[in-house]
Subunit: 378 residues, 2 copies
């Protein structure tokens, strides 16, 4: 949390400097923040002292500090203000703990919008820029369904599957996060300017790149580690075998996240990447229920981590959709088996699962061993 008395301008300038350091890895930058707390302190500390934290020779550190020119920082400061861009450092309690786990977590994140989404449960949905019309429809419909359950959909704002996923999730309770590979003052691709603005207002736009950073090829795979790092799992909707989505899936695997893939026709080139992932062990997904079932333990762990999360308010209760109400009505105060809830609510099992998760997140039902659920007294 920003200290009330701190020098906001100096804090932002030092954060921009830290983000722009060339030749010092992210892990070292995070250690510097841990050690000195405020980024301003880092830049007022003698290089000889920094060496013990950065673990690089003094001349390398001096070189890195020299790459950051003051006029550029001033320009970027203005852009932060103009574009309503905020800064989140790795030692801030609001920095998402799941992302902090990965070995090369960015020391500085720039964001627009609702920073709280970053710490909530997220599913990454990624895929091809050249997806089939059916793939785009699936991405949008699945994203909406997940977001109705309370999951936030995290993606990369690329055209194709990413955009469809953002669009599906935007209006729903879970919302959406876009992790981009340029400064937040730029939008890539330009065609997504409207979507980026909406996400910056209603969801959250984030980037590890300072304002004025254009789209560079090597930044896209770098960015992908943040998409998977933030998420409980990555769902690849459609991807050819050279798609960047496969990088995101590989990183997810390395980061211990679940990897999901939707199969498709063998005649659809953008299904080949998904098939490759399934052969390598990714979970084959036909319905949103397939993902929710797999993520339930991870979602429960997230819920346990957030005991401070407010219990559902009467407004939220009223806002339960008709299907959620139908499901809630079938859950007894005694343990009720999932099959019974499904049969009596007369809804497909995957929808019931999704609604139960939503009710669980709202503190209305509690899961029991053996696939049973119990209603929580008001």
């Amino acid at each position: 949390m920003p200290e009330t008395f701190r020098d906001e301008e100096g804090f932002l300038a030092a954060s921009l400097k830290l983000a722009a350091l060339n030749g010092i890895g992210q892990a070292a930058r995070c250690r510097l923040l841990e050690q000195y707390g405020n980024p301003q302190t880092i830049f007022s500390t003698p290089v000889d002292e920094l060496k013990a934290v950065v673990l690089l020779p003094g001349n390398k550190i001096r070189q890195a500090l020299d790459t950051v020119k003051e006029p550029l920082i001033q320009k970027r400061l203005r852009l932060l203000r103009e574009h309503n861009i905020r800064v989140l450092l790795s030692n801030d309690p609001a920095y998402p703990s799941r992302l902090r786990e990965i070995p090369d977590a960015p020391a500085v994140l720039f964001y627009q919008g609702n920073v709280e989404l970053l710490s909530g449960p997220q599913l990454a949905m990624v895929g091809s820029r050249n997806a089939s019309p059916s793939g785009l429809r699936t991405a949008q419909a699945f994203a909406a369904e997940f977001a109705r359950t309370g999951l936030t959909i995290t993606s990369g704002l690329a055209s194709g599957i990413d955009t469809a996923a953002h669009r599906g999730a935007l209006q729903e309770i879970g919302g959406t996060i876009a992790v981009v590979a340029t400064g937040l003052d730029e939008v890539y691709p330009k065609t997504n300017r409207g979507m980026a603005e909406k996400i910056g207002l209603e969801g959250c736009m984030i980037s590890e790149y300072s304002p004025m950073t254009p789209a560079r090829r090597e930044q896209f795979p770098q960015r992908n580690r943040i998409i998977s790092g933030l998420s409980l799992g990555v769902l690849v909707v459609e991807a050819d075998t050279r798609s960047g989505s496969l990088i995101t899936a590989r990183l997810a695997g390395e980061q211990g996240r679940e990897v999901f893939a939707i199969p498709g026709s063998i005649h659809q080139p953008t299904s080949r990447g998904c098939h490759q992932l399934i052969r390598q062990g990714a979970k084959l997904v036909e319905t949103t229920g397939d993902v929710l079932q797999e993520l339930t333990p991870a979602l429960r762990a997230v819920l346990r981590e957030q005991p401070e999360s407010a219990p559902s308010t009467p407004e939220q209760e009223k806002s339960l959709d008709p299907d959620a109400k139908k499901v809630l009505n079938q859950v007894d105060f005694a343990p009720t088996p999932l099959e019974e809830i499904a049969v009596h609510s007369n809804l497909p099992v995957e929808l019931v699962l999704s609604k139960l998760l939503q009710l669980e997140l709202a503190g209305r039902v509690s899961p029991l061993p053996g696939g049973r659920y119990q209603r929580i007294p008001d």
Copy 2:
């Protein structure tokens, strides 16, 4: 092999009796054939003596023998002649050894056509009666490609995928086998009468059921064990989750055969069975090469089992298709890596693999460890 001097009429009548025994399992019938050689001897042996082989009380055996009425046998004998149906017993050297391995191998097989196909390398291709047009096209194209490689396509003559697979393989070198669940004098479904006739002439039609046996529901899953039992592997092209093809796939797994499935759109109901199989460990198949690569060790084992198989004749050599010739020209007398053969022949890897297998079956190339191939001098 039928003995030259045996009483052909009596042999066939006894075989028909053996096939019709009610209440004695297939394994016991096979043991009887092992013990007494000729089925006529079985029926002239006192029941007290049969007990030691059948392992059932005498009265049970007597009951079983009583179910077989002489006039019915005489009618069936006439139908065998009329329909050119032949008999293959489990103790005949021409009985396929792979089928003999399964625990409930039929003691009596009825067949029309080329019995040698039964002992050759086979791939079962099965699937839904209500397949999509794209699924039918895939079945036919894959079957043709496999059969060009020398694999025989075994299926169940059902409408939909089965028929498409038979059709694809029929004209190619590997040919096709139909295993049916009725007597060979009947055709089910009637719409496949023409296809059944063609297979009975150019391929092989087989059944464990005597003439005059109509289509009964319980015979179809029974029949499926023969389809998988004959084959090195089972490829499910399209199947809904209640399809009989999943029974064939399960039996294949139990019999130690490879199980393959082709994925499809999540919106295609007849892909769900395939997805279920893939989740359970079936190999995901996008190309014929995926299957051939997996089956190569089993195919090699088949080749080793048949050292008596004639080397390729000049006619066969001439009959090499242009692609096979192209591939052969790229295989050196020194070990040549697969990639090199593929690059220089300018053909897709899966086609090259299929052609190499064909050349291997023809005794023109020999596979070496590490995915290399060597030409065999003429």
